[in-house]
Subunit: 344 residues, 2 copies
């Protein structure tokens, strides 16, 4: 990788002061549950007793996958570009939820097969017209993978320069649960069958076929082990861009909101390169997609929502975002026992 | 009970049309998980394919409990009135979260021991200066219980007349997890030990003492079975008011947001009187308080959030509220496959 990152783990300096501030709020000790852990994490990310969320942003990375030609998805590859148009027109789930919470939403063409028309919300950063099928060759070259990571990092730096300190990454790419399953299998050694789910809605027979295809791909490529080699061989352009995006966001000390299975598989690569990236990550939800719960356990982290979502697009991030705001608001605005004159 | 309610169960007329509308949105079938169930329920509550949430409101019912003198809580009874003042000053958790989501917040003095000063957000509806201790006598008379139910119903009608169609009920009352545990035990026949939790933060010895006190109370009153007799014997004024509030809200076809353990124990009484009240209820969260998960299973319902909250005040309602908005927004604003020109 031709780019390196400098990610500082959290300083423990403020742990005591933040916990004391939380404990002195007018509520029984610990009674805000996971929201208290979240407030502590956000305070540590910003190294502040009065953290704030500024200009929250979601980038959706879109890319096509050669493997989609082999019948691993319930939808045709053309849907990737069609859904990008839907995001831009404001009709997708993530469009609706991002509007609801005033989250900036930008779409990145990381490698959609089709050439896309210009649009103010579309960032054209195509690495290629879809990946190669990893059934017969690596999905991308090492150079393409490197370029994607650098591009993801640059896009996050751009948002940061605009004043954004809280960012999340969504994805769109027909076939990309197959990539995510292989990244998880190769980098965590979880049995493949426990990494492969129904994606957009495969039936039992289609699920078995998907599993067989992925086993064939693993056999074809043999013993690949390093995170970057696994990423280039089985990944997607949108996934590789997310890797760079996570690492750059952590380097900049931003709050990072993590979406579902595919977003977490990209984080897995980033984590294997720089484990301290996790300090900055808030897991928005646990997906219905098989494997995500296991992946969260691998990270040893809880998610905020458990609503059986399996949509991608960053939809879980947008739905969980108000909880981040709530954590910051209770830390900053709730009265202490002393301020309110409440016995304790 | 001198008041009766007419609660219509959901008409199944729109089930098919609502499900079709949900399924035609630009997303894989079922991929918004529990949010899809929620959209369906809200559509059925309003008997509409384009439901809307208007003037959401939370009423916090506050009352004191004679049993609090017996050491069942980590806090003294004086905290009830002090917390009411904190709600009114805007410093409590629910104050912060209600402001965040522009939910109207009103406090009802259902039976606080102290006399409270006037305040524009305080509704004075005191049934008594705290309940009697149910260790030695019924917490309230049948007449007081009746009056509380009628008052709760009237307050909900007032909100409805102001244009509110989505309401939630919080509570504040030192000692009221003891009432809630006894209501649950008597009305669901769950073993008492599985209904009694740590409330505001009891240690192991205090928890055992709480359990012993409640066993003594059960023995003292003998075989009480009807929902209203159980409510009058072991309940609180704030709990009885919530019973009337739930039933009136259901009669008016309002969306009802249910908070944690105590709020659910009041709903249990309402449910035993009019089971169809559940059609209108959205469970905001599953509490950390022992017993709440069992109570949700008794209702056969899932909750939206599982964040180990155990604060009461309606805090879980406010935190879950954006998910109700999201359900309505995706149903109304997301593009269909046809509208967006996406293959499926």
């Amino acid at each position: 990788m031709s780019i390196t990152f400098t990610i500082a783990p959290h300083s423990p300096n403020l742990v005591g002061a933040l916990q004391t501030k939380i404990d002195q709020k007018t509520k029984p000790l610990g009674s805000l549950g996971q929201l208290e852990d979240l407030a502590l994490q956000i305070g540590l990310c910003q190294n502040s007793l009065t953290p704030e969320i500024n200009k929250p942003s979601i980038l959706i990375f879109a890319g096509d996958h050669g493997i989609a030609e082999s019948g691993v998805s319930a939808y045709p590859q053309s849907v990737t570009a069609q859904m990008v148009a839907n995001f831009l027109q404001g009709g997708a789930a993530i469009s609706v939820f991002a509007r609801q919470h005033q989250i900036e939403l930008l779409i990145v063409d990381a490698g959609v097969k089709t050439d896309l028309a210009n649009h103010p919300k579309l960032i054209k950063a195509k690495i290629g017209h879809g990946t190669q099928s990893f059934l017969t060759q690596p999905a991308m070259t090492a150079e393409e993978c490197d370029k994607a990571i650098i591009t993801g990092a640059r896009l996050v730096s751009d948002r940061h320069q605009q004043g954004c300190n809280c960012i999340g990454f969504g994805e769109m790419g027909i076939g990309n649960t197959s990539s995510a399953a292989l990244l998880m299998h190769k980098l965590t050694h979880t049995p493949l069958a426990d990494c492969v789910g129904r994606g957009t809605g495969l039936d039992d027979a289609q699920l078995l076929a998907k599993l067989a295809i992925l086993q064939q791909a693993i056999a074809h490529h043999g013993d690949i082990q390093t995170p970057l080699a696994v990423l280039a061989t089985f990944g997607g352009f949108e996934i590789a861009m997310m890797v760079g995006a996570y690492l750059q966001a952590a380097e900049l000390g931003m709050l990072i909101m993590v979406d579902g299975f595919i977003a977490s598989s990209a984080l897995l690569v980033a984590y294997r390169l720089y484990p301290q990236v996790l300090d900055y990550c808030i897991f928005s939800h646990v997906s219905h997609e098989l494997g995500h719960k296991t992946l969260l356990a691998y990270f040893n982290r809880n998610a905020l929502l458990n609503l059986d979502l399996r949509l991608g697009e960053g939809s879980g991030i947008a739905l969980a975002f108000p909880l981040l705001q709530s954590a910051v608001l209770f830390l900053n605005d709730m009265a202490s026992f002393e301020e309110a004159g409440v016995d304790h």
